[in-house]
């Protein structure tokens, strides 16, 4: 606390408690800010307001029960949490996943990536103060995806679709047709978003040159996902540690090696949405016929004894799941490696020295989901 006294005029730093009840801390994040006027001198993120003991719950519920619960960890991209757990369990169990199921997993996951990024786009603009206008446009496309998810998984957000040993339901022919129509329409919609947002002078003013995440800082703090790739480091598990059928698909790792500022992170996600759309198109062409589930789904679902780790590239970064199983119907130990937790850690160094209005621009750009931080 620096206190200066100049001719009787006392200035002081102000400590302000942003959150957990605040319109734009995306749930219940709490930031303790030390402000000098409007400039942040020190920021500290206090996490844990949404702690639900997800790992403990995994150890006290059967595999079958926990499968349904795990979508809630990252509620915007539930497919990925299911997928990470399914892959870890399959690795321990050694069960084969049918090829059609692998393709369907890629399909729904990329759809989920698009829907997650669309929601991010809307809320990010709300963070920047475009409060009533643009944010609802991405939701129109997201709604179409959610309708497709609802048809195939029964729910709009908590899917429980990817199961240990495959996927639970095979979509109908009509579903694929609707998805194909969506993939044709979607690039035009992204063009529209870009026309409104990307070159908007106020948006550029608000995002260019702030929250610069250098390669060194990003690797030091374990940042992953689009935020890392926007800083120019080509880490994308789909390519660097390929899993499922990704090696058969054509796509490049997006690196946006420019400044690593918030605008670059915005751009990385926009490009990623287009890329995911292309992947969906490829999968729709390559989809083989056959079985979709190799393991019986009932309350007595058991995984052989052993331990295993699996990670997937979620919309927020590397999502890892580590399991120890003793062969019973419950796991002995669960450990999640959540991308939001590591990405949030970098917030404090990014905020240092930025004005209070940039807090939300920077915080929004690293795309954190609070339940994913707190588990």
């Amino acid at each position: 606390m620096a206190t200066e006294t100049q001719e009787g005029f006392k200035t002081d730093e102000m400590i302000i408690n942003m959150g957990p009840q605040h319109p734009s801390t995306h749930g219940v994040l709490r930031l303790i800010l030390t402000l000098d006027g409007e400039v942040v001198r020190h920021a500290e993120a206090v996490v844990g307001h949404l702690h639900r003991a997800q790992e403990w719950q995994g150890q006290n519920r059967t595999w079958f029960q926990y499968q349904a619960l795990i979508d809630r960890v990252d509620y915007l991209s539930g497919m990925f949490t299911s997928w990470a757990m399914a892959r870890a369990a399959e690795h321990i169990d050694g069960c084969e996943v049918p090829e059609r199921a692998e393709y369907l997993r890629v399909l729904v996951s990329e759809m989920n990536r698009i829907s997650s990024h669309l929601l991010w786009l809307g809320t990010y603009l709300i963070d920047l103060g475009a409060l009533y206008g643009f944010p609802f446009y991405p939701f129109v496309e997201r709604e179409k995806l959610l309708a497709l998810f609802e048809e195939v998984a029964g729910q709009r957000m908590m899917y429980n679709y990817i199961r240990i040993g495959g996927v639970i339901r095979d979509p109908k022919a009509d579903w694929f047709k609707r998805l194909e129509a969506f993939t044709k329409e979607f690039p035009k919609r992204v063009d529209e978003y870009e026309a409104i947002v990307t070159e908007n002078p106020i948006f550029l003013n608000r995002t260019k040159g702030i929250g610069i995440l250098t390669k060194q800082v990003a690797t030091d703090w374990g940042v992953t996902g689009p935020s890392l790739r926007a800083s120019g480091i080509p880490l994308d598990l789909r390519r660097t540690k390929p899993y499922s059928v990704y090696p058969k698909l054509k796509f490049d790792v997006i690196t946006y090696d420019k400044d690593g500022d918030t605008w670059d992170r915005y751009m990385a996600r926009i490009i990623e949405m287009r890329q995911s759309n292309e992947i969906i198109k490829q999968v729709l062409d390559m989809l083989p016929q056959g079985e979709i589930l190799s393991k019986k789904q009932n309350a007595g679902l058991r995984i052989k004894a052993g331990e295993g780790f699996a990670a997937v590239e979620s919309p927020r970064g590397v999502l890892g799941c580590y399991i120890i199983s003793n062969g019973s119907d419950k796991a002995v130990r669960f450990k999640w490696r959540n991308p939001s937790f590591s990405n949030l850690a970098v917030l404090a160094p990014l905020l240092h020295g930025s004005p209070i209005a940039d807090i939300m621009a920077i915080f929004g750009s690293i795309d954190v989901i609070i339940p994913d931080v707190d588990r």
Binding site: G129, Y132, I202, I359
Partner: protein, 474 residues
């Protein structure tokens, strides 16, 4: 994704509400300003009852005459007081419906017929809410802040009333020789209320909102005032009624197009249609030929840019997006009014929308011709509207001559002012709100001081030098 049905509904809503606002305010003004004084000063059953009770003498007659005069003098303030709440209610509703249209949502459409009573229900809810003064707040200042914020929107609007009603005899009393100066002075008072509310709330977010507001208002008042001063320079007066009257005679006379520099062109067009000496008019208005025409072009460009500067400054002055930093929701929760609830919040809310209406009215009176019909009268005559005029006048003769309920010039002036103001608000303010992100405070300051103020000063100098080449308002 054009929603024709919703657009139609919004227009229907506008027409119905404008009719309601207009008729209520009109009826109240007539009642207070004309009917009541007329009853009190003539011989009729009501006065007879009064005389029989209190005794008929010169003294009691004088008392009644005095009451009648007070009624007449109170008409403008009554008009404003009746107008503000109804108008704010309507504007909130239209804004919500229009924003819903822009953002692919459904607006409020459940309470009453097609949602018309939604804001009334909201107002009742706010009035019934508990009025909380936070712990540690300065209770007196906390209560005073919304009043100081709201009061200028009542007394600041009064000179505009004279301009909007074509200087009707009831409202002439409000017409000051330095009217626009008074309006601008009044419009800079609310910032005191914001700073006061922000400080008295004992909340750090409120404090920051209040301080931001002070910085913002100081920076943006300068380009705002410079743009209006430049127009006053062209008009040669600070009197809002005169400024409005000078612009009469069609869209080319409006200040937004050269501040009268195009009047000559408008006259020449008229002459070419109705017969007249175009050459003489040209020489009269543009004494220096080609140079004058060039300067007319420069002036037109200047005034159009000045209009843009005015709108920008006005948006900043009344804290609209993209300049809504004092209440930036994603940063400061709700800025200066974070701690306000119930009736105090309602007053802040009411004042905000009234201020929006007032800056819209200032723009209409100063730039968009006030109560002037955009189509010149000679054109209307040519199209045969004069023929319709006589039967209409005959039809409304009892209202006009007998009851003095309608004064046609006032009626049309008021209709046009309201129409133009709402056009500005709906098309400009709401559309901007529905599109743009928010500035950052330092960018806002830089934009104001480094771009808007030099630009408006440059335009001021240009106008000073260019106006010599043209004869204005001859």
């Amino acid at each position: 994704m054009t929603n024709i049905a919703e657009i139609f509904k919004i227009f229907r809503l506008m027409l119905i509400w404008l009719f309601i606002i207009f008729s209520i305010v009109w009826a109240v003004c007539w009642l207070v300003g004309i009917a009541l004084p007329a009853i009190l000063t003539t011989d009729n059953p009501i006065t007879n009852v009064i005389y029989s009770t209190f005794g008929h003498s010169a003294g009691s007659e004088n008392t009644l005459r005095m009451i009648a005069e007070v009624c007449r003098a109170l008409t403008p303030i009554t008009a404003v007081m009746v107008f503000i709440p109804i108008n704010a209610m309507f504007m909130v509703l239209i804004e919500r419906r229009a924003l819903a249209l822009f953002t692919l949502r459904m607006g409020p459409n459940r309470v009453g017929p097609d949602g018309y009573l939604q804001t009334a229900a909201d107002a009742v809810k706010l009035l019934l809410k508990e009025d909380i003064t936070p712990t540690g707040a300065d209770a007196f200042m906390f209560t005073l802040a919304p009043i100081i914020f709201f009061a200028p929107s009542i007394f600041g609007a009064l000179p505009l009333l004279a301009a909007a009603t074509h200087n009707h005899s009831l409202f002439t009393i409000m017409n000051l020789p330095t009217g626009i100066f008074y309006v601008l002075a009044a419009s800079s008072v609310p910032v005191v209320g914001i700073v006061m509310g922000g400080w008295a709330s004992n909340n750090k977010y409120s404090l920051m909102g209040g301080l931001r507001s002070a910085a913002q208002a100081i920076s943006y008042e300068i380009p705002l005032v410079l743009s209006i001063v430049t127009i006053c320079l062209l008009a040669g007066t600070l009197d809002v009624v005169k400024i409005a009257e000078q612009q009469s005679g069609g869209i080319l006379n409006w200040n937004v197009f050269g501040g009268g520099a195009l009047t000559g062109i408008s006259k020449i067009i008229q002459a070419s249609f109705t017969g007249g000496d175009a050459g003489a008019i040209f020489n009269n208005y543009y004494p220096e030929g080609g140079w004058s025409i060039m300067m007319a072009g420069v002036l037109t460009a200047c005034t159009i840019i000045l209009f843009g500067i005015y709108l920008t400054g006005a948006c900043a002055e009344i804290n609209r997006i993209p300049f809504d930093l004092p209440e930036a929701e994603s940063e400061l929760v709700s800025g200066y009014n974070t701690e306000y609830s119930g009736i105090k919040f309602a007053i802040f809310f009411l004042a905000e929308f009234t201020n929006l209406f007032i800056v819209g009215t200032i723009a209409t009176v100063i730039f968009l011709g006030g109560g002037d019909n955009p189509i010149p009268l000679w054109l209307l005559d040519k199209l045969g509207f004069t023929a319709l005029n006589a039967p209409a006048a005959a039809m409304f003769a009892p209202l006009i001559d007998g009851l003095h309920f309608i004064d046609p010039t006032t009626f049309w002036a008021a209709i046009w002012v309201i129409f133009k103001t709402y056009f500005l608000i709906v098309l400009f303010a709401i559309l901007v709100r529905g599109t743009l992100p928010r500035f950052r405070i330092d960018q806002l300051m830089a934009f104001g001081w480094k771009q808007l103020i030099p630009l408006s000063l440059t335009l001021f100098l240009l106008v000073v030098f260019a106006r010599g080449a043209i004869h204005f308002h001859v």
